[in-house]
């Protein structure tokens, strides 16, 4: 007789938000394999209706504390796109700096506090405070540095203050640039130590080829903030066509709304960006990839964590370059915008529809607003990275479980938990999840 296995992990820990894993193997046959999302729905899209596009980013950054800057930038982009406003080159550069800091901060949190405990065989980072005190201190120090840079640039990292539709209410002066540069340069030794540590970690084996989706562009930059949407299956579309990219669909047997593009599922996130845009990575980032033997296309989802490490170097060194650019060329302070642009009728508002597509830590994030002639949102839609990854995670689980059936239930459970955690799912921003089964 074949094996019976029942895995039911409720309240998956060390991921953002609440998720359950359900696996049911009956007589050696995989009958059920699901990632359930049980976050209390928060109805953000509903709450945006009737709000001005000039307020929207304050609301949407509150979708997720980890991706606060990413949501706020996608929101601003969608709003500006809707009214046909073009941000200046300086504004875009500073936004990119903010996004780099958030991606770096989030990746570090994930690598050190959420994934490393699994690989070191402990339940959380707390026991590591005694056993690996230096490592924990380094992690906290690096995280704080990202946070300090965001404080200088945008007032704070969690719910940035000075980045708004139209530009920045506060621009860094010479002192602020120097301080940011000192923080960033000061992080380099810790970054080197991180690379050394992470390169030595062993990740589980699982190969499943899938379609990887990320922003693509024709310039030389590793695209995070601007561009079209592309995939490793050769797709390229304008972000306005995001609905043709995500193709949300309802699965009859599970009431789950999933996404797919050219095949049964697709993935977004650090590994997807690595696979799509490897050639555009900076030398510092490519060196790490070479050292750990990663070359596109990498099809082991557990290696998303290593792709994040590679992106840490990308973000740190590109951030340094951005600050240096401003130190050389100077900051044009006349561009500072005064808040309440709408009240002052300083920005021309017209009815329209706009899309923001931004590469946030966990992958491609879309915001779409329809606004009336007063800049009031009449319809809003957000498609978050974890929503797009859910279907792909389930397909990974279906591939993985039969391969490890000979292991104990505890080992299978851990392997599945680690798989879900590798995607760094931010379930708390379940602005748009249908992936819930309360009916038991």
């Amino acid at each position: 007789m074949g094996k019976n296995i029942k895995v039911n992990v409720e309240y998956l820990t060390r991921v953002e938000g609440h998720g359950n894993i359900v696996v049911n193997v009956n007589d050696g046959v995989l009958e059920e394999c699901k990632l359930e999302i049980v976050e209390s729905p928060r109805f953000f899209e509903g709450m945006l209706r009737g709000r001005s596009i000039f307020e929207a980013q304050h609301v949407t950054s509150r979708i997720c504390g980890i991706c606060a800057c990413g949501h706020s930038l996608a929101s601003i982009q969608a709003a500006e796109d809707a009214i046909g406003f073009k941000p200046s080159d300086q504004t875009i550069r500073l936004r990119k700096l903010l996004l780099h800091m958030e991606n770096l901060d989030s990746h570090l949190l994930h690598i050190y506090l959420l994934v490393a405990p699994d690989l070191l065989g402990v339940k959380s980072f707390v026991p590591l405070i005694d056993s690996h005190n230096k490592v924990v201190r380094r992690a906290l120090r690096m995280k704080k540095t990202c946070n300090d840079v965001c404080d200088i640039l945008a007032g704070r990292h969690i719910h940035p203050i000075s980045s708004i539709v139209g530009g920045w209410t506060k621009l860094p002066d010479e002192k602020a640039l120097d301080a940011m540069l000192a923080y960033l340069n000061g992080m380099i030794p810790d970054m080197n130590a991180t690379i050394e540590l992470a390169a030595g970690l062993k990740f589980p084996e699982l190969q499943r080829d899938t379609e990887y989706v990320a922003l693509v562009s024709d310039d030389g930059e590793y695209p995070l903030l601007m561009g079209d949407v592309g995939s490793t299956d050769g797709v390229r579309m304008n972000k306005k066509d995001y609905k043709k990219i995500t193709n949300e669909f309802v699965v009859p047997h599970s009431s789950a709304k999933h996404t797919k593009l050219s095949r049964e599922s697709y993935a977004v996130g650090a590994l997807a960006r690595f696979n799509v845009n490897y050639s555009k990575l900076r030398k510092e980032a490519k060196d790490i990839a070479a050292a750990v033997g990663m070359k596109p296309k990498v099809t082991n989802p557990y290696l998303n964590t290593v792709a994040q490490l590679i992106e840490c170097a990308e973000s740190l060194y590109d951030a340094i370059d951005i600050v240096k650019h401003f130190k050389e060329k100077g900051v044009d302070h006349s561009e500072a915008v005064v808040v309440g642009l709408n009240e002052q009728k300083r920005i021309l508002v017209k009815a329209g529809s706009g899309v923001g597509a931004v590469e946030v830590p966990r992958g491609l994030l879309f915001h779409h607003y329809e606004v009336d002639d007063k800049g009031i949102i009449v319809n809003a839609n957000c498609i978050i990275p974890t929503g797009q990854n859910c279907n792909n995670i389930e397909h990974d689980m279906k591939k993985l479980v039969p391969e490890i059936l000979d292991k104990s239930e505890a080992e299978i459970t851990l392997a599945l938990e680690m798989l879900v955690r590798a995607y760094d799912p931010c379930i708390s921003c379940s602005a748009h999840f249908l992936d819930v089964k309360f009916v038991r």
Partner: protein, 246 residues
């Protein structure tokens, strides 16, 4: 002496306030010297089935399941801290209460709406007794440390009940009203060091209303600058809609 057992629990929120803890950097380790964190789902797999000396609650209560869960946590906790505006005043989740529940549920989840259990958003104190409140969206870390110290020592902490304007003036910001822009500072509790205004934005009232807003005086200010009460209340309602629940 055994260290006090502290647990973090999250309800409907963005979890940004608990992240503020991780953002303390190495100072966090000093705090961990004096407390024993026994449950903190976002960063720990450990669970603690017994009672807590301090439970720190983040997020608003938005489902009937959450009502049961918060009551159960309250029953096991000596001291309960509402942490962040989602917990202390309902925060952004309160905006949901602007709409008919049925309508907003159908707007977001279409024909799957019935899968989503939802009740009007409540702040934690609207469901169970709260001993300390840490306001802010997100919380202001220096204030949190002060409150945690008070809670550990069993001392009272009085949430400031004067307006953000007091701090704003000390920071020598030019008042936004002078520039023809409306700001919720005059009716919002201080304690954040006028964070947003220092960074060129307005105050949106994320720390909740002062208990005794000088409404008439405030209205006079609004009239002077030709700003409607509706306009400012619409801003205030971004975080403060739950105050209407009795």
């Amino acid at each position: 002496m055994t260290k006090p057992k502290v647990a973090f629990f999250d309800f409907a929120c963005c979890e940004g306030c608990q992240l503020q803890v991780a953002n303390l950097g190495e100072a966090l380790l000093d705090i961990l010297e004096v407390i024993d964190v026994v449950e903190f789902r976002e960063v720990m797999s450990e669970k603690w089935p017994q009672s807590f000396d301090i439970a720190i609650i983040e997020g608003s209560i938005t489902t009937s399941h959450a009502v049961e869960r918060i009551k159960e946590i309250r029953a096991r906790s000596k001291v309960l801290i509402a942490y962040g505006s989602c917990a202390t005043i309902g925060g952004v989740n309160g905006m949901k209460n602007n709409y008919e529940l049925k309508d907003i549920r159908e707007y977001v989840y279409k024909d799957k709406a019935e899968f989503f259990d939802t009740i009007p958003t409540r702040a934690v104190h609207q469901v169970v007794n709260v001993d300390y409140s840490v306001n802010g969206c997100p919380i202001y870390p220096p204030e949190f440390i002060r409150i945690l110290k008070a809670a550990l020592a069993g001392l009272p902490y009085h949430v400031p009940d004067n307006s953000v304007c007091v701090e704003c003036k000390l920071n020598e910001n030019i008042c936004l009203f002078e520039r023809g822009i409306s700001c919720a500072g005059p009716i919002t509790r201080s304690g954040c060091n006028s964070w947003c205004v220092n960074n060129g934005n307005i105050c949106y009232g994320c720390r909740g209303m002062v208990s005794n807003p000088n409404e008439n005086g405030f209205k006079a200010v609004l009239e002077k600058y030709d700003i409607t009460v509706d306009m400012i209340m619409n801003k205030m309602n971004m975080y403060n809609k739950c105050r209407e629940i009795k």
